[in-house]
């Protein structure tokens, strides 16, 4: 039984779940949104710092939740630094497909960020958990769009 589950709970996920990176609120952040998963009550606040050229200089988050949602938020903050908003959007779409669509392969070895997010692809086999993996991303999207609230419903 644990074998199956180790697909989902890979070491990287357990590590980011236990020791999330960028769990903070940067004072200079200029984009914020609050994300909420009504099913489990988990919530996350994403803070992004976007410069005048539209480049994401910093992403951080606050909140608590399950290992999947915390690890996903933590990984997200790492891969998005230095990306343009358009690149962030594209990455979210690829990541979303990876979490939901069967047969989406690791694919593009040039896409280093997507490669790093591959550890979360295991949620595909756990449909109830896809929302956990995508909560932080939906929240970031809302922050970028100038919204401030998002739920995964």
């Amino acid at each position: 039984m644990l074998d199956d589950l180790r697909e989902l709970y890979q070491e990287v996920i357990l590590d980011h779940g236990r020791n999330p990176r960028n769990l903070r609120k940067p004072p200079e952040a200029n984009r914020h949104a609050h994300g909420h998963n009504p099913m489990c009550g988990d919530s996350v606040v994403v803070h992004a710092t976007v410069d005048d050229a539209g480049v994401i200089r910093d992403v951080a988050f606050e909140g608590r939740g399950c290992a999947i949602s915390v690890a996903s938020a933590s990984l997200m903050t790492e891969v998005l630094k230095g990306k343009s908003q358009a690149e962030a959007q594209a990455l979210f779409e690829q990541f979303h497909d990876m979490c939901t669509k069967d047969g989406t392969q690791a694919g593009d070895p040039d896409n280093e960020e997507l490669e790093r997010l591959q550890v979360l692809a295991g949620v595909r086999e756990f449909p109830m958990r896809v929302k956990c993996a995508t909560l932080a991303w939906h929240t970031l999207n809302a922050a970028m769009a100038g919204g401030d609230e998002v739920t995964t419903e």
Partner: protein
């Protein structure tokens, strides 16, 4: 150990908790219990969310559809007559089950939630004004919070909240202190759906009645476990939902004292609830029909009647003894799991065991035990204010029904041990 072996063990002489109760025979009545999930036998520990259905209920309902079905209270034709009789006999059974004074005190709704909304809406129209107070408790399900908030926002009433202690006990003294000249209704749960706390409901009612305040009781989690006698309790309103009592979805029950129901205006308008309609004026039927606009849950009422017969055939006392034994076993067994803490250790509890683990979020716990075939509820259990009071975002909850066994508790405990192994 096989299920049969576990059951023999559970029913071994000297084990009073289960001696009178043949759980193997009971399990044979529930077709779904032979299902497997992820190649493992289903271990269904989520009866507090919704209970499984015995063959007797399923058959009563398909029998109705196959042999006796038409709309009720409408036709002179034979089928309508027979169906009306079967439907109304469901109401009689509910009345008997709660020991209501009369079947006219039983209103059928779509679920418990609709019954709360009905009372909140109608009671507010008839009896509440700005500044009046309604007392609820920290233990409430959202179904007994949100309808009152809607009334509060509409009318400007005030909600007063009875606190609990850290173990989940309802604080009776604090409750009494909240009762004041503006208190118009007390609306509290009989059993907490998350912590299993059994609220001293008789005392709650007596204290309110001493001040002339009526009491509404949320019995959703009580009726599957406890014999309820609304007359002995002297409850003014008592609400439960069919699907947690081994009955069908789509039906809820509102018991209300006749005199009180008569004072309330209709809830929704439509067919079934009227005596006569002209475009100028409509007159309404007496309760319970006044509150049952439109075609009611006909076959669901028949199914609920069958569920009540089923529970009665086993006996509430035997069920309670079996479930209490299971809960005690589960609490002892689960606390042996490293890093596990029980949430809710009230003095009196129904067979609900909520817990958290040091390094694993309830959501992760739920996913992991699911792979072992174990269904538990994880999350806020529709009681977010309670979660806030307890200082947790969520809990995992195992809830036991009359068909569960100690062997199933063992399967859960083993699965939780692997959670600990994975998350350390």
């Amino acid at each position: 150990m096989t299920h049969a072996a576990a059951n023999r063990l559970a029913a071994a002489p000297g084990d009073n908790s289960a001696a009178a109760f043949d759980v193997a025979r009971v399990r044979a009545d529930f077709p779904i219990l032979t299902q497997e999930v992820f190649g493992k036998p289903l271990v269904y520990l989520d009866s507090a969310a919704s209970a499984q259905k015995p063959r007797q209920v399923i058959e009563a309902m398909s029998h109705a559809y196959e042999t006796c079905y038409a709309n009720v209270h409408r036709g002179v034709h034979r089928m309508s007559q027979l169906t009306t009789d079967a439907f109304e006999s469901g109401r009689e059974k509910v009345a008997g089950f709660l020991n209501a004074g009369s079947a006219d005190e039983i209103v059928f709704t779509r679920n418990a939630t609709e019954a709360f909304n009905l009372v909140a809406s109608c009671f507010a129209s008839a009896k509440l004004a700005r500044g009046d107070e309604v007392v609820i408790s920290t233990l409430e399900h959202h179904a007994n919070i949100v309808p009152w908030q809607l009334v509060r926002d509409r009318l400007g009433i005030v909600l007063r909240i009875v606190p609990i202690d850290d173990d989940g006990n309802f604080l009776l003294d604090d409750y009494e202190a909240l009762l004041g000249p503006r208190t118009k209704l007390v609306a509290v749960t009989h059993v907490s759906n998350d912590l299993g706390t059994v609220v001293p409901i008789k005392q709650v009612i007596d204290l309110a009645h001493a001040r002339g305040i009526p009491v509404l009781v949320d019995g959703c989690q009580a009726v599957p476990h406890i014999k309820v006698d609304v007359q002995a309790l002297d409850a003014d309103f008592y609400i439960f939902t069919g699907h947690k009592l081994y009955g069908p979805t789509g039906i809820g029950v509102l018991y209300g004292k006749s005199a009180l129901l008569r004072e309330l205006p209709p809830y929704q308008g439509g067919g079934e609830m009227i005596s006569s309609v002209t475009f100028e004026k409509t007159t309404f039927k007496d309760p319970p029909h006044r509150f049952e606009a439109g075609t009611p849950p006909i076959v669901e009422a028949i199914g609920l009647g069958a569920a009540i017969d089923y529970v009665a055939s086993l006996g509430h006392e035997a069920i309670a003894a079996h479930e209490t034994g299971l809960r005690g076993y589960a609490e002892a067994r689960l606390t042996q799991v490293a890093g596990l803490r029980l949430v809710g250790t009230a003095r009196e509890k129904a067979s609900i065991v909520s817990f958290v683990m040091d390094n694993a979020h309830p959501h992760d716990i739920g996913t992991i035990v699911d792979r072992a075939g174990v269904a538990v509820r994880t999350g806020h259990h529709c009681a977010q204010p309670l979660m806030q009071r307890l200082g947790v975002a969520a809990t995992a909850r195992a809830s036991f029904g009359l068909y569960n066994t100690r062997e199933e508790v063992d399967v859960l405990a083993q699965a939780l041990e692997s959670v600990h192994e994975l998350f350390g």
